[in-house]
Amino acid sequence: MKSFNFKSATNTKEAVKLISGRATFLAGGMTLLPAIKLRLAAYSDLINIKKIKGLSGIKVSSKSLRIGSTTTHAEVAASKEVGKSISSLAILAEGIGDPQVRNRGTIGGSIANNDPAADYPSACLALNATIHTSKRKISADKFFTGMFETDLKKGELVESIEFEVPEKSSYAKFPNPASRYALVGVYVAKLKKEVRVAVTGVESCVFRCKKLEDALSSNFSSSAIDNVNISSKGFNADIHASAEYRAHIIKVMAKKAVSSC
C-alpha cells in the first residue's frame, strides 16, 4: 500500500470540495482498499464520506424506495422497510460477500464502482432506479456505461438511489464459486408500465436483456422463457465459465427468478 492522506468530510459540499488531483471518495473501502493494497491503484487523498450525516438511511413511499449511498449492505438486508416494499432487494443485499463485507460495504460504493459481476447494478437497472448525485439525477439506464465505468464525473458524489417499487420482482444469483460475486445474476421486475430484466456477471457491464423482457411482457411466467434463445456472443469467458455456459445459466436463473416472484 502506498501512503495517502486521510480526510473525513462532515457534509456533502465539503466532500466534493476536497476532491482534487489524485483524491477519491472512500465509503466502505471494501473495493478501494484492496485495490490500493495490491498497488492496482494509488491516491494522494482518501476522503471519508461515512461521517456525512444524511447520506445513510432508508426512506419509503408507496411509489419509491430511496436508499442513502453510505447505507451498508447489512442495513439493507436487515431493513423491515426494504423487506416490505422490495423484498428482492433485501435478499440481494443478504447475498453479497460475507458478513464483514456486508457490514462495511455500501450501496453507493457498489454502484460507483460498477464491477461487472456486482449485484446492485442489476437491481438499479431492473427497478428503473434514479441515481441522485451531488450535481444531478441520473437514470440507471444512463448511469452504468462500461466496465468499472459510470456516468459520474470527477468529484461527483452519489447521495442516494431511488428505486421504483415494482408489482413483483426477484433476483436469482448463480455465484462464482470462488469469489461468490455473480457468475450470472438475473434481476426480474414487473413494474407498473413495463417488465425489466437486468443481467450481471455476463458482459463487461450490467445490461438489460431485451429478449427476456419481450417474452415476459407478453407472458410473465417461467414457461415463457423456455423458447427464448440467448446468444452467447460477446459474453465473458474465463476459468469459471464459458460464454456458452453463462448463456445457459441466464435462462435457468431467469426462470428461477420469475417463479419466485
Partner: protein
C-alpha cells in the same frame, strides 16, 4: 488421574489461539529490524539478459539489494532435492540448478530474482519497482501431458524428464493381463492444488555480529531439518552457531517442509547487513511460490477374472514436478504413491511407472497426503468402474478382494501389520444406510436432482520408516524421532519433542500420553517444540508421523524415567529395584504399603543427599537429575484404513453438485483424543472435497497463474458441507507401543475418490476433478440430459 489416553480433552492450545494470542513469525518484531521484498519473475520462462538495480539502491530507505550474482559470489548453495529417485535404467534422477536468487534464467511466474532490503516494507516495495530486469521471454510449457514433447527447459535434461521410475513386476503383470477375463481401463487427472495454509510463510533472519550466532525465525514444519539443510547445502551458517525457531505455525499441509529461497535469503541478508531482516509472504506470493501439490495424469488398467477377483494392476503416471525439484518432490509421486496403488485389496501382481517431468510452473511437493491421495484416487475409482462393468455391487466387489489376514505382505512394498477392512466397511454401510439409498435417489429425483453414491475404502502408510530402508532408496536423512523428558525438581514436567505442531494439537495429545505414563496432572506438563536450541535434533511433522513416531519416543523416554525412578525408590524404600512397581504416579514396594510419589523421587534426584529435612541420598552409580532422552526409529510404517461413503445431489439444469451425506469410519488404531482426531478428519475430508469439487491451480498457455487469489481459486467453505457422521473401528498398530496409526491425512486421502465416485454415479458418465458446475453440466449434456441442454 489415569486414563487421559482415550479421553475427549479440550485442547490446551485453544485458549491462546482462540483469543488471538498465538505468536506467529509475523508477530515477532526485533530491534533495528529491516524489511525484505522480493522481485519475482512475471514470466513463466525467460533468460535474464540484464539486471540493473542501481536506481533501487538509491531509493529512500534502501539498505541493500541482493541478486543472483551476490549469492553466487558468496557461495550460497542452491535449493536441494532431499530424496533422489533412481530411474528404471539405473540412472539417478536429473535435478536442475535451483539458485536462491535466479542468475541467468527464470522458470515460473513468481521465481525469485532479487531482494530489496529497506527500513520499511513500503520503501522496499517502492524500490523493488525500480529494479530493472530485462528478460528474453521464451515459450513455456505448463501442461503435464505435454512436457516430454516440449523443447528442453533446463540444459541437459532431455525431454524435460527428471526420472522414469518403475515399481513392480512387468513380466508377471503382463502375464496376468493376458489371462484376464476382463480388463478395466481408466484415465484420470489429479488436479494441481495450492496448499493455502492460513498463515502465509514468513521468515526473519537475525545475525548477531558480536557472538556470530544466526537465528532464523521461520514458519516451518521441521526446524531442525531446515537448519541441517541450510548449514550443509546452502552454506548459510555452521550448524552449531545457527538456531531456527518456528513458533506457532498456522497450518502447513506439507507446504512448510521445504527450505525456501526466502528462508535462505533473509538469513544471508541479515549476515550481510548485520541487522534483522524480515519477510512475510503476501497471499499472492503464497499462491505463486508455495509448493503446489498433486498434478498427475494417469492411465490405469485393472485385470479381473469372472469370479470378480482382481488379478493385476498396471498404472502409468506422469507427475508434474514444476520448474525445479524440491525436497520431497521426487519421493512423493514415486515411493509415497506407487505402493499405495494396491489399495486394501489382495492383488497378486502390479506394475507402475512414473515419469517425473519439469514444466514452467511452481514446483510441486508434498501436500496433505503426499502421494497417497493420488494413489487412492486411482485404485478407488478403478475398483468402482470394475464393479460396475462386471455388474457386481460395489461393496461386495470390494469385500471380495479385501486383504483378510494380517500381517500381509503386499506384492509391491508394504507389509501391513494389522487391519480389519470388513469391519469398517460394514459399519460405514450401516451408518450410511446404504440399503435405502435407492429410496433416497428417487426422493431426490422428485426434486429434480440426480443423486449419486460413492465409496472409498482406503488405506495409507504413514510414519515413513525404518531409517535404514528409506535411506537405501534415496532419502537424504533417516526418519526417526526424538524426545527428551525433563522431570523438574518441583514435580512438573517439560517434554521436548522433535515433532512440530502446526495445527495437530501436540500440546494436548502428547501431554495426555505423558500424564498417563508418569501419573502427572496434564496442567503440569509442558510440550516444547519448534526451537533448535531447546530440544534434541528432531525430524519434524509431516506424513502423519508425529504420534506413531514422535509419541513413541516420548513413551520410551518416560519408560527410562520410570526405570531410573525405580532405582531411586528402591533405595528410599529399602527394597530392590525389581521389587518396585510403578502405577499412577507412585513407586510401590511389592507386598508392602511403602511407597513414594514420582514427585518425591524427582525431588530426591535433584537433592541427592541429607540436609535438614531432606534425606534422599541416591543409590550408588545413579547420577543426579531426572532427564531422559530417546530416539525412536520405527520398524515399519503404520497403516490406518477406513471407509468413506459419500452422497451428492447434482442439479441437472446447472450441473451444480451438493454434498448431502458423508459417512466416515476410520481405523486409526489407538485413539488418544477423539476430539482432536475428529478435527483432523473433518479438516481432511474438507480438503479432499475441495480437490474433488472446487480447487484447481490453473496456468494459462503462456504460464500465467490465473487462479492466484481467492477471487479465482475456489476453497471449500463451511456451507458446502453437511454434518458428517464419523465413527471408528480399532486394530492397534504393532509397530509402536501406543498402537497408534496416523490420522492427519486420512480424510484428504480418501475423500476425493468417494466424492467423484458419487458424482459419476449421479451423472452417469466420466467427469474429471474438480467437478465444477460447468464440467458436470457438459457431461450431462453429452450424456443426453434434456434439462441440461434446454
Amino acid at each position: 488421574m489415569a486414563n487421559l489416553v482415550g479421553a475427549k480433552i479440550e485442547r490446551k492450545e485453544d485458549k491462546k489461539f482462540l483469543t488471538g494470542k498465538g505468536r506467529y513469525t509475523a508477530d515477532i518484531n526485533l530491534p533495528k529490524q529491516t524489511y525484505a521484498y522480493f522481485v519475482r519473475s512475471p514470466h513463466a520462462r525467460a533468460k535474464i539478459t540484464k539486471l540493473d538495480h542501481s536506481k533501487a539502491m538509491k531509493a529512500p530507505g534502501v539498505i541493500d539489494v541482493f541478486t543472483g550474482d551476490c549469492v553466487a559470489k558468496d557461495k550460497i548453495g542452491g535449493l536441494i532435492c532431499g530424496w533422489k529417485i533412481v530411474s528404471q535404467d539405473g540412472k539417478d534422477m536429473k535435478c536442475p540448478p535451483h539458485p536462491v536468487l535466479a542468475k541467468d534464467s527464470v522458470n515460473f511466474v513468481g521465481d525469485h530474482v532479487a531482494v530489496v532490503v529497506a527500513e520499511t516494507l513500503e520503501q522496499a516495495k517502492n524500490a523493488a519497482e525500480l529494479v530493472n530486469v530485462s528478460y528474453k521471454v521464451q515459450r513455456a510449457v505448463t501442461r503435464t501431458d505435454e512436457a516430454t514433447k516440449f523443447e528442453n527447459i533446463h540444459e541437459g535434461i532431455d525431454n524435460n524428464l527428471s526420472f522414469d521410475f518403475l515399481l513392480g513386476d512387468k513380466g508377471k503383470t503382463d502375464e496376468a493381463f493376458s489371462k484376464a477375463d476382463k480388463i478395466v481401463k481408466l484415465d484420470v487427472v489429479n488436479n494441481r492444488l495450492i496448499p493455502n495454509a492460513m498463515e502465509p510463510r514468513a521468515a526473519i533472519g537475525d545475525y548477531n555480529t558480536s557472538s556470530d550466532e544466526l537465528t532464523l525465525y521461520t514458519a516451518s514444519q521441521n526446524p531442525h531439518l531446515d537448519r541441517l539443510i541450510m548449514s550443509a547445502f546452502n552454506a548459510v551458517h555452521p550448524e552449531h552457531k545457527f538456531r531456527i525457531v518456528s513458533p506457532d505455525v498456522g497450518g502447513g499441509f506439507g507446504s512448510k517442509i521445504n527450505v525456501y529461497a526466502e528462508d535462505v535469503v533473509v538469513a544471508y541478508a541479515s549476515k550481510k547487513i548485520g541487522r534483522p531482516v524480515k519477510w512475510v509472504a503476501e497471499r499472492s506470493e503464497s499462491f505463486m511460490s508455495d509448493n503446489h501439490g498433486r498434478d498427475h495424469v494417469t492411465h490405469a488398467e485393472l485385470a479381473v477374472n469372472n469370479e470378480g477377483k482382481i488379478t493385476g494392476i498396471k498404472v502409468d503416471t506422469i507427475a508434474n514436478l514444476g520448474a525445479y525439484s524440491l525436497v520431497l518432490a521426487a519421493v512423493t509421486p514415486t515411493y509415497l504413491y506407487a505402493p499405495l496403488l494396491l489399495g486394501i485389496y489382495d492383488i497378486p501382481t502390479a506394475c507402475c511407472t512414473v515419469k517425473g517431468v519439469y514444466t514452467n510452473t511452481a514446483p510441486t511437493d508434498a501436500y496433505r497426503g503426499a502421494g497417497r491421495p493420488e494413489a487412492t484416487y486411482v485404485i478407488e475409482r478403478i475398483v468402482t468402474e470394475a464393479a460396475k462393468e462386471i455388474g457386481m455391487d460395489q461393496a461386495e466387489f470390494r469385500k471380495k478382494n479385501f486383504i483378510q489376514k494380517f500381517p500381509h505382505q503386499q506384492c509391491l512394498v508394504h507389509n501391513i501389520d494389522s487391519g480389519d477392512y470388513n469391519a469398517h466397511l460394514d459399519k460405514a454401510i450401516e451408518l450410511a444406510d446404504y440399503k435405502n439409498f435407492e429410496n433416497r435417489r428417487s426422493q431426490s429425483a422428485k426434486k429434480g436432482k440426480l443423486r449419486g453414491i460413492g465409496f472409498s475404502t482406503y488405506f495409507e502408510a504413514c510414519g515413513v520408516a525404518p531409517s535404514a530402508v528409506v535411506m537405501s532408496i534415496g532419502s537424504g536423512v533417516g526418519l526417526w524421532e526424538s524426545a527428551e523428558v525433563r522431570f523438574n525438581a518441583t514435580g512438573n514436567v517439560s517434554v521436548f519433542t522433535g515433532a512440530h505442531s502446526h495445527g495437530q494439537s501436540h500440546d494436548t495429545t502428547f501431554a495426555q500420553i505423558v500424564g498417563d505414563k508418569l501419573g502427572v496432572a496434564i496442567e503440569n506438563i509442558d510440550i516444547v517444540h519448534g526451537d533448535t536450541d531447546k530440544g534434541p535434533f528432531g525430524m519434524g511433522t509431516y506424513g502423519s508421523r508425529s504420534l506413531a513416531v514422535g509419541g513413541t519416543a516420548i513413551v520410551n523416554a518416560c519408560d527410562k524415567i520410570i526405570a531410573k525412578g525405580k532405582k531411586v525408590a528402591a533405595k528410599m524404600l529399602e527394597g530392590k529395584p525389581e521389587d518396585i512397581d510403578f502405577k499412577a504416579g507412585e513407586f510401590i514396594l511389592k507386598n508392602s504399603n511403602k511407597k513414594k510419589t514420582i514427585g518425591e523421587i524427582a525431588f530426591a534426584c535433584y537433592l541427592p543427599g541429607t540436609f535438614g529435612d531432606v534425606n534422599s541420598p541416591l543409590p550408588e552409580g545413579v547420577e543426579p537429575g531426572l532427564i531422559e532422552t530417546s530416539f525412536f526409529d520405527p520398524s515399519n510404517f503404520s497403516f490406518p484404513s477406513g471407509s468413506h461413503i459419500c452422497e451428492v445431489e447434482v442439479d441437472e439444469e446447472t450441473g451444480e453438485t451438493k454434498l448431502v451425506k458423508y459417512t466416515v469410519v476410520d481405523d486409526f488404531g489407538t485413539v488418544i483424543n477423539p476430539l482432536i482426531v475428529e478435527g483432523q478428519v473433518y479438516g481432511g475430508v474438507a480438503q479432499g472435497v475441495g480437490q474433488a469439487l472446487y480447487e484447481n491451480a490453473h496456468y494459462d498457455e503462456s504460464g500465467q497463474l490465473t487462479s492466484a487469489s481467492y477471487m479465482d481459486y475456489t476453497m471449500p467453505r463451511a456451507d458446502n458441507f453437511p454434518q458428517m457422521t464419523l465413527d471408528y473401528t480399532c486394530t492397534p498398530a504393532t509397530s509402536n507401543p501406543l498402537g497408534a496409526k496416523g490420522c492427519g491425512e486420512a480424510g484428504t486421502i480418501a475423500a476425493p475418490a468417494a466424492v467423484m465416485n458419487a458424482v459419476i454415479d449421479a451423472v452417469g458418465t466420466d467427469v474429471q476433478m474438480p467437478a465444477t458446475a460447468e464440467k458436470v453440466w457438459k457431461a450431462l449434456k453429452k450424456n443426453g440430459s434434456k434439462k441440461a441442454a434446454a
